[in-house]
């Protein structure tokens, strides 16, 4: 999948996560802000990386602002943002 334009999904409400994805010239850069960064930061990164890999996204800038989302919510928002951003 190629990221064609910037897209956003989710929200900054409690238990949700706001994710934005935009095109990048090279590589995958992932920025994470989370209220539970110390406890779950590594897992959030792993889920984002695995989701990008599964979707075949190798070049993108991904911004994750997590407000305590469950993993299933994180995956739902990633699927949505990729649907909106790419082809």
């Amino acid at each position: 999948m190629k990221i064609l334009h910037k897209a956003v999904a989710g929200s900054l409400e409690s238990s949700d996560v706001l994710i934005s994805v935009e095109p990048a010239d090279e590589g995958l850069s992932i920025n994470i802000e989370s209220v539970v960064l110390k406890q779950w930061g590594a897992r959030i990164r792993q889920v984002v990386e695995e989701s990008m890999q599964a979707a075949g996204v190798s070049q993108a800038r991904v911004d994750v602002r997590d407000h305590g989302a469950l993993e299933c919510t994180l995956k739902a928002r990633i699927e949505t943002v990729l649907l909106r951003a790419g082809r």
Binding site: A9, E13, C72, R77, T80
Partner: protein
């Protein structure tokens, strides 16, 4: 299929409420992809709903998904994504005739087959929200046996379709409610009532729920968690009625064991319809965990 006394609408907008569906006192939740979701967020709602159905523990609370109507661009995608997650039922808005019920049946059947799910797993609750839909209630209720297991009245949209205002006493909906219940009972399926929209009027909700139970409805939609307990309590029988029903059920069981058909309780003849009514009362008490039914 479980109980459907109180059915709480939960917008598939944010995950906060979705992941707490088990704690709302509702018999079932209606995960909404339709009216509560903005046009530009339909994709996000559908995907969030899918992940919630796959991952959230609803702890036995019924899972109904209100999809977008058949006349929308979202309808087919909603079903394609949601049916493989096996919710208990799909609530389909604005069904107007038997063709609409048959179309959704055929579409769900195809998706179930493709997904390797037994055909008929996901039921349909058809919403009757227009004058035409209500008048075709019998055809809709009988159009897809085993698939359409309930019809529900959409009071707000029906009032709009008829160009009338809804009132507290609900006289304007009386014929529609009565007709929908009769059609449902005729087809041996359930009938669900429209939500009570005044959140501050608990007594009004209680009165309306008792009224629609009297008409024969099996459940009522709720638009706030605080309404669920009021609705459930309204379905519980009063003690006098319950004690009388327990006596009848006891007598009927003893008679059945002795091979007797018609029985007498407190000097009155009790036949099959009376026993069935008594069993229904006991079932409602059971649903509310009333201690009086423990001995049965």
């Amino acid at each position: 299929m479980g109980l459907f006394r109180s059915q709480l609408y939960v917008p598939c907008k944010g995950p906060g409420m979705l992941q707490n569906c088990a704690y709302m006192n509702a018999d079932a939740v209606i995960l909404d992809l339709e009216d509560s979701i903005a046009q530009g967020e339909k994709d996000a709602a559908r995907i969030l709903c899918k992940y919630a159905l796959q991952n959230v523990d609803f702890q036995g609370v019924g899972r109904i998904v209100r999809v977008n109507g058949q006349d929308t661009e979202f309808y087919a995608d909603d079903l394609e994504m949601i049916i493989p997650c096996c919710p208990d039922a799909i609530r389909l808005p604005k069904v107007e005739d038997a063709d609409g019920a048959r179309e959704v049946d055929e579409r769900i059947t195809a998706i179930e087959k493709k997904a390797g799910i037994p055909v008929g797993t996901v039921k349909v609750h058809a919403m009757l929200e227009t004058a035409k839909g209500v008048l075709n209630a019998r055809e809709v209720a009988n159009a897809a046996p085993g698939r359409v297991t309930a019809i529900s009245l959409g009071g707000q949209d029906l009032a709009a379709d008829m160009g009338i205002m809804r009132t507290l006493e609900g006289t304007e909906l009386l014929f529609g409610r009565s007709f929908v219940v009769l059609a449902a009972r005729d087809a041996r399926i359930m009938a669900f009532d429209t939500p009570f929209t005044d959140l501050d009027n608990t007594q009004g909700l209680r009165d309306e729920t008792k009224f629609v139970i009297q008409l024969g409805f099996s459940g009522k939609a709720a638009i706030h968690p605080s309404q669920c307990k009021v609705i459930n309590d309204a379905f519980a029988p009063d003690l006098k009625t319950l004690k009388k029903a327990i006596t009848v059920v006891h007598a009927a069981r003893e008679a059945a064991a002795r091979g007797i058909g018609v029985i007498s309780v407190n000097g009155k003849m009790v036949d099959k319809p009376v026993v069935e009514q008594a069993e229904a009362v006991v079932a409602r008490a059971n649903a509310d965990n009333m201690p009086e039914v423990e001995d049965l």
